[in-house]
Amino acid sequence: MRRTLFESFTHGPLTEAPPSRDDAALAELMASLERSARRRLGRSLSIREVDAGSCNGCELEIHAINNVFYDLERFGLRFVASPRHADVLLVTGPVTKNMREALERTYRATPDPKWVVALGDCAADGGIFAGSYAVAGGVSAAVPVDLHIRGCPPPPTEILKGLIALLEAQK
């Protein structure tokens, strides 16, 4: 273990530096995320993820924004284990009828003010699963949605961009 830890001193972190100036879009993204998150929430934006029926693809990319390359927590955003600690519900999947009540109860357990982000094409309108007897529809079929992040699944940078858009909209 010592060797692996020592290597970290010589190799430096894998976390991708706030992007160079010529990468305007991403630079803007990261800078605005940091600025707005701090101003609005003082580094305390907590996200509770709820899978309301997804194929698990979206969850994989949500995990990815936690990895060392994207390192979500450096921006003051973090995932929490309980809706009672959350500011944001990040909901994936078409809402299955079997999950609708659980999602509604999770929403009610989240203290105000709160925002709901619907992540992925299925969360927007049920996606490819729309019309099934077992699917209620997109996330808005169960709880009010503040923002949709499209994609199947959306790649990590798109997820980051979406979270910023949410923060900007709350100004």
């Binding site: 692996t4 899978d51 194929c55 969850e59 995990h63 990895n67 999947g93 079997n98 999950m99 999602l103």
Partner: protein, 503 residues
């Protein structure tokens, strides 16, 4: 084991490929069930069907690689003899058949619904639809009796970023006396959406059955459709599929090895393995245009060609993994506090994996030799050299080691695939035939089975069986006698699919 033709005698169905489907009598059906129960054959899947009339199908394998058959029993009166009575691994399948089709398994040991949690607007959505009962009955969890027992209900919404499901623990102090799972929360009705869908849409549904195994589902579905329509994917497509499948395996194994260690609070491994996973996904993006390679496998071949210049992203990736991974293996193996958590935890006995025919690392860590790439096998793996690792300890540690060894095998496979990648077309046009097909693919989790009936360019019926069906019940056994705090560790070492199971 005996040859299946001795056990399954009846009327063969035309146009079912590549293995036979035989319509049997109720007596023969019972005979097949007892042959499976006696260990003379292995249950591969059990599902319902409604075309002209109701039927149930049971896929089984015999002793030799290619000895696979589907036994079908027509059930005009809506009943069939229970397979779960002599052979418990069939119980959840039968409960699902009853909930979805309304077909009654006569003599079944467990009559409670499965997948139907009482929230649908109807009962028996794939059979003769009935209005739901006026009052949703409480689910009767299995009873536990004893002094000072307490129950811990967990889920469906879990604490981590994972899929939903309900776990009911009964504990005596810290020790788990019984775990009972209740699944079905992410049931999306995929099989009903499949019925009548054109093949392109059906392939997309198959690719979204379990997102972490999207390539494997794509391959299994393609195998089934190609068998049904009697066409073969060209060699280059076979190689590209295998390349994607091995990248998918690498990504999942890296992610899970790290996550298992993280559940033992060893986040250093998690960070390093997460970095390797990300690099695999980036290579996949540059080669195939999608990080998870979704919709890249299509019936008949693959969706897009590999850019020749993107091959260097894979060779760079392999070199990087070979440089980094050995020190991570050493880190895993040399950290006593981590070993203390994984060694001897969550043991699954070999008798259970044999009985359930459990595939993937769950089966292979408990002494079951199995791998759909070898048995029944499919191209291009018949031309590639690789071994299937096997251990006998059956604990969390053994499941981690199987994954470590499989990473090494996948690296060697990718070397061979790149070196021998044939030129030529990447897809064969489907001929719009009518027929039935059975296909397999080895996902990182185990063998995926897909059965399909096609009519021209449409799917009339499709059943997808995730490897998790035979693994979830073993998790209930693995946790028994362990402490509650070790459940995340055991659960992650299985990493069963909720979505793939719930359909």
């Amino acid at each position: 084991m005996a040859a299946l033709t001795d056990i399954i005698q009846g009327k063969p169905v035309d146009d079912h490929r590549p293995w036979p489907r035989v319509i049997v009598t109720a007596d023969t059906w019972r005979g097949v069930a007892s042959a499976i129960a006696a260990g003379r054959a292995t249950l591969l899947g059990l599902w319902g069907d409604k075309s002209a009339s109701f039927a149930v199908h049971m896929a089984v394998s015999g002793e030799t690689a290619n000895d696979i058959a589907v036994a079908s029993l027509e059930c005009p009166d809506g009943t069939f003899p229970s397979v779960g009575a002599p052979h418990p691994p069939a119980i959840r399948f039968e409960r699902a058949i009853q909930s979805l089709y309304g077909l009654l398994p006569v003599g079944a040991p467990d009559a409670r619904p499965w997948l139907d949690l009482g929230f649908w607007d109807m009962q028996y959505p794939l059979g003769i639809r009935q209005p739901p009962p006026d009052v949703r009955a409480a689910y009767a969890f299995l009873p536990t009796e004893g002094e000072s027992l307490h129950q811990i209900p967990v889920g469906p919404v879990h604490a981590g970023i994972i899929e939903p499901g309900h776990f009911r623990f009964t504990a005596s102090g810290e020790t788990v006396v019984r775990l009972e799972q209740r699944l079905g929360y992410v049931h999306k009705g995929i099989e009903s959406l499949m019925a009548g869908a054109n093949i392109e849409r059906a392939a997309k549904l198959a690719a979204r059955t379990s997102g972490d195994s999207t390539v494997a589902y794509g391959i299994a579905f393609a195998h089934a459709v190609e068998a049904a329509s009697g066409v073969e994917a060209p060699p280059r497509a076979r190689y590209l599929r295998a390349l994607m499948a091995e990248l998918e395996r690498l990504a999942n194994h890296f992610g899970d090895i790290g996550a298992i260690c993280n559940d033992a609070s060893f986040s250093l491994m998690h960070a390093h393995c997460g970095a390797l996973r990300e690099l695999v996904l980036r290579a996949a993006q540059s080669c195939f245009g999608h990080r998870l390679m979704m919709d890249q496998v299509v019936p008949g071949g693959v969706a897009g060609n590999l850019r020749t210049d993107s091959l260097t992203s894979i060779t760079d990736l392999l070199a990087h993994i070979r440089r980094r991974f050995p020190s991570l293996i050493e880190l895993y193996d040399d950290t006593a506090s981590l070993q203390d958590r994984t060694v001897g935890t969550g043991i699954v006995h070999d008798s259970l994996v044999q009985q359930f025919g459990a595939g993937g690392y769950v089966g292979r860590a408990s002494g079951r030799v199995c791998d759909a790439r070898k048995t029944p096998g499919y191209p291009p793996y018949d031309r590639l050299e690789f071994s299937v690792p096997m251990l006998t300890e059956g604990d969390v540690n053994a499941r981690v080691w199987i994954r470590i060894r499989e990473v090494e095998q996948s690296l060697a496979l990718i070397d061979q695939l790149i070196e021998r990648l044939p030129a030529g077309p990447i897809a064969t046009k489907l001929n719009g035939a009518r027929g039935e097909g059975l296909g397999f693919a080895e996902s990182f989790r185990g063998d995926v089975l897909v059965w399909v009936r096609i009519d021209g360019d449409r799917v009339s019926r499709c059943h997808l069986r995730d490897p998790s069906w035979f693994q979830w019940p073993l998790l209930e056994a693995a946790i028994e006698g362990n402490i509650v705090a070790d459940f995340p560790l055991c659960n992650k070492s299985f990493n069963c699919s909720y979505s793939g199971h719930d359909l």
